[in-house]
Amino acid sequence: MVAAQDVADPVRTFRVFRFAREDGPSRFDAFDVPVSAAATVLDGLRHIRLHLDPTLSVRHSCFHASCGTCGVRVNGREALACVTAIADLSDGDITVEPMANLPVLSDLVVDMAPFVERFPPEHPLTRTSERPLSDASAYVRFEDCIECGLCLSACPVAATDDTYVGPAALAYAQRVLEEARGGDRDAILAWADRDDAAWRCHAAFECTEACPSDVRPAQRIMALRRVLTLGGSAAS
């Protein structure tokens, strides 16, 4: 939103990854963007779209790290654009690229289908709780994962192995073991016990570093491994 004060806002240079199938190889475009004190990277990208280049492809939705749509890489690190404050970034150009390890459709938009396809085939969207909620004295938010894909982008194994199911899918599997709620525990264990699943992780913990939603996928993969090797519960 352009207001009179924007004239006084400092200007930062955004270097944004651009790719369109019909335009040949990718490139970086530079944009000078006025940024207010509280501006986020997404604010900058939207300013570019609205005022500088309407052909820029960007995905976003909720503006508050809940939908997982706006995953990108900012200055080489995975981030949700909507909650990455420009003031927190180092001085100099702000480089924005799409997430890694997923095919780029256009500019900052990647194809999320290969991300979703890595999840176990039994992926019930809703599961029924065994006790009525009125029985609970306190609530713990359990499903933190917003399926943003930042963990897959950060993973050094996913960087070279496209068959690796990745941290989000494995963390999901561990959650089903920890709290089945009607999910098939044996099917999940068989799915996880494969060379392209639980045994491909090398404990780099980049997924946990990148996760904006406190899922801690690396710790969940380790708990999953404990179940596969030592048996027992999958509490992480």
């Binding site: 095919p103 690796y164 045994w199 491909r200 090398h202 596969l228 090797t229």
Partner: protein, 124 residues
């Protein structure tokens, strides 16, 4: 981006477990080996002369320890290489071929090491 899921499932943990257990064993065996070969005899770097080597390997306990080290380190190395190669995203057939190749390489390595140790022990 269609990906063929690996059909092999069940007890895929064996490779990881073997890597971990052989690694833990190596913490002990390699320490013994390094101490024996760098910190015992009073030569430069603790390195043994030819006759000192023969004396050393002539001891049956040492012989067993060195053979154990040879086998354990080769198993661990082959499993490690397998893990690195698998990270290139191989097909199911590729994984099987890599495993077979490394088993063969491992057996050759252990075989050569056993011959080497055996010959030296026989000269002691």
């Amino acid at each position: 981006m269609r990906v063929d899921r690996d059909p092999a499932t069940g007890r895929r943990s064996r490779a990881w477990t073997a890597t971990t257990l052989s690694g833990l064993a190596l913490l002990v065996l390699v320490t013994i080996h390094m101490v024996a070969h760098h910190f015992v005899v009073d030569e430069i770097g603790g390195l043994r002369t030819y006759s000192q080597v023969l004396d050393y390997i002539g001891n049956p306990v040492i012989l067993v320890l060195e053979l154990a080290l040879l086998v354990t380190v080769t198993v661990h190395a082959m499993l490690g290489l397998r893990s690195v190669l698998f990270d290139f995203g191989l097909s199911a057939r590729g994984r099987r071929n890599v495993t077979r190749g490394l088993v063969a390489l491992g057996m050759l390595t252990i075989g050569y090491g056993v011959v080497l140790i055996g010959v030296l022990a026989s000269r002691a």
